[in-house]
């Protein structure tokens, strides 16, 4: 009897122990604490106070536990990657540590057995030297380790000379092993966030003088408690200011921080101006021309910032949504070419050059994703293309179609090469499309498009929607 009690209790003790280690490890992982977190004096005091008899697991136990977890989860993920019928898209990033070590951050994106889009971090790997050739070697090694070297669909990465070398070499390498579709035509994807970043930077450059002054102004206001009080007084004096908006300072590491800074400062324009009159020490207030310019630029950059938010915040981050977003960016840029302000016009021209370089190379993959959205298909695509340039619309559509048939050919088990030819020539499916285009060109605004736009901008307020529809229609 006693013996039995002993056994069951010690079992229970073991269970509680392992549960404690498990939870400690999770706390460490979730909060990114060091492994010796629970050996910290303050934490020790706390746990002792809560439970004087409890001794927390030491760091080496936790480290071993996490390492064990890693191995188990890695095997699980490997298994999953091996069993899915779909291909895998990769994103490739480089992270730099304070000690200037470079790490490869490799992420896999794939549709799992539940038909849900999954993103899993595969590797976070120290690489030295970070040259294209060496990174390619490493990448092949990593992909082989995961056993997915024949399952890669695309690789998304930033544009840099090393990355381009990597991308090309990897394409050749994987191609040699027959691991790529259509000789890797769809292998390389560009990073759109980078294009957005370049565009926003270009916009901020135009008002660099004002950006400097605004930064100094915010720093001036934040410098001391009395300055903050002064600023608050000014807010009350001026009145009608929504003081819930925080003044942002820009950070070099954040992509849109300069824009956020300008946007927040513009809201306090009158306060800064009144502070300028009231406080002699405050010298760097932007002039009224500068303020106006900043306001204009902010209004211009708003859709880009929204696009960036959408890309980051979308619930289903499937590529069908991206086409419309990218298309919207292009619409705004093209509209801005006719802006009466010369500076904005010139800026839009420069931005459009950057944008078009991207669009040329990547639009097809995006368009293919859009076509496979049963709400978009070819008809909406045709509408989007015709809005941009009616003369090239048909050619672009045909290009997308032929690419899709070419790809589908690889996927369909029964089809023959002649089948592809036949289907491209088959015009029957594009007749309703032409009708639709005709009606659109006559200025009839399809109701479904209204809903489509409504859906697309559901995250904007109504005003923005109307404003955009207006610019779109003109």
């Amino acid at each position: 009897m006693l013996q039995q009690n002993m056994e069951s209790d010690s079992e229970e003790v073991d269970q509680m122990e392992s549960r404690l280690v498990h939870l400690c490890a999770f706390v460490i992982l979730a909060n990114d604490f060091p492994f010796h977190h629970f050996e910290d004096d303050a934490i020790k005091d706390l746990t002792e106070f809560l439970n004087p008899n409890l001794v927390m697991p030491p760091s080496n136990v936790l480290e071993a536990y996490v390492s064990d977890l890693y191995t188990k989860e890695k095997d699980k993920l490997k298994q999953q990657l091996a069993t899915i019928p779909n291909k895998i898209s990769l994103t490739f990033e480089l992270w730099e540590s304070c000690t200037t070590d470079t790490y490869i951050c490799l992420t896999a994106h794939f549709v799992d057995a539940d038909w849900k889009l999954n993103s899993k971090l595969l590797n976070f790997y120290l690489v030295f030297p970070p040259t294209g050739v060496y990174m390619c070697e490493k990448m092949v090694e990593l992909l082989n380790d995961w056993g997915i070297e024949k399952k890669i669909f695309s690789l998304t990465l930033d544009d840099s000379s090393e990355n381009n070398v990597l991308q090309q070499q990897l394409k050749t390498q994987l191609g040699l092993e027959n691991g790529l579709l259509c000789d890797g035509e769809f292998f390389h994807a560009h990073c759109f966030a980078r294009i957005l970043k370049l565009i926003v930077e270009e916009g901020c450059k135009l008002v660099s003088g004002a950006v400097y002054k605004i930064r100094q102004s915010i720093m001036f206001v934040r410098r001391s408690k009395s300055q903050k009080e002064n600023f608050k007084e000014c807010i009350e004096k001026v009145g009608g200011i929504d003081s819930s908006v925080r003044l942002h300072l820009d950070m070099t590491t954040r992509v849109y921080s300069a824009y956020l800074m300008l946007e927040s400062a513009v809201k306090y324009r009158r306060v800064f101006e009144s502070l300028h009159l009231y406080d002699d020490n405050y010298e760097l207030c932007p002039s009224s021309e500068e303020w106006e310019k900043v306001e204009k630029i902010c209004a211009f950059l708003l859709p880009f910032s929204e696009t960036a938010n959408m890309i980051n915040g979308a619930t289903h981050r499937t590529s069908n949504l991206y086409f419309l977003q990218v298309w919207k960016v292009q619409c705004v840029l093209i509209d801005s070419l006719g802006d009466e302000d010369k500076d904005i016009k010139r800026m839009a021209e420069r931005m459009l050059t950057k944008f078009e370089k991207y669009w040329e190379e990547y639009s097809v993959v995006l368009a293919l994703g859009a076509v496979l959205d049963p709400r978009i298909k070819l008809s909406t695509l045709a509408y989007c293309y015709s809005k941009l340039d009616a003369s090239t619309c048909e050619r672009k559509l045909q290009q997308v179609k032929s690419k899709l048939y070419m790809l589908f050919d690889k996927y369909s088990s029964k089809s023959t090469s002649s089948g592809v030819q036949r289907t491209i020539q088959d015009q029957s499916s594009s007749v309703p499309l032409q009708n639709k285009l005709k009606s659109l060109s006559q200025g009839l605004f399809d109701v479904s498009f209204f809903f489509f736009l409504n859906w697309q901008f559901s995250f904007l307020n109504l005003f923005n929607l109307i404003a955009f529809l207006l610019t779109c229609e003109i």
């Binding site: 549960r19 990114d32 001794v55 990033e93 038909w115 981050r317 859906w455």
Partner: protein
């Protein structure tokens, strides 16, 4: 009803059939998850749905937005020299993988907040004492004596009445034998 239509009977390729069908209305399917649509229509477009999955999973940006990735920058500021490269990978990967997993039943996922954890420690049975394993490792020299005491108590405790509060404080070692 159109879901039951068989592709083979029409003599057209799956792609043709797909294009021939009318678009879904944006208003009605505003928040649709496209992948789920392809899942539902998988029997009609077995090949095309695989192609769709592959194309739809192409990412537009390398900038990872999931909050767990924000940690990247922190790792590099906080632990710059102290973590071996292998260690960083273990941490980063395990963290992101577990975020999506709920492991065996009642063991919670990664979103353990500190408060819950403290409650757990506090309610952790007073009757259970530090495991043998940790003593063997002996990571902390200062605590070694205490640990030994705890250990003996543990052995004693096993027989004690775990339900009474007194058990943790008024236990008599001799009773066991």
């Amino acid at each position: 009803m159109h879901q039951r239509q068989l592709v083979t009977e029409t003599g057209k390729s799956q792609l043709d059939v797909y294009f021939d069908e009318a678009n879904l209305d944006f208003h009605c399917y505003e928040d649709m998850d496209v992948l789920q649509w392809w899942k539902r229509n998988n029997n009609r477009f077995p090949d095309l749905s695989i192609l769709a999955c592959d194309l739809l999973s192409v990412p537009i940006t390398t900038v990872a937005s999931d909050f767990e990735f924000c940690m990247g920058s922190r790792v590099f500021n906080k632990y710059k020299d102290r973590l071996l490269s292998k260690n960083v990978e273990t941490r980063m990967c395990t963290r992101t993988w577990l975020h999506n997993f709920v492991s065996n039943g009642n063991l919670c996922n990664l979103n353990v907040n500190l408060y819950d954890f403290i409650v757990l420690i506090a309610t952790f049975q007073f009757n259970y004492y530090p495991p043998q394993l940790w003593h063997v490792d002996g990571a902390d020299d200062n605590d070694e004596d205490d640990d030994d005491d705890d250990f003996e108590e543990t052995m004693n405790k096993v027989d004690g009445d775990v339900q009474t509060e007194q058990a943790s404080t008024d236990f008599d070692f001799e009773d066991d034998n």
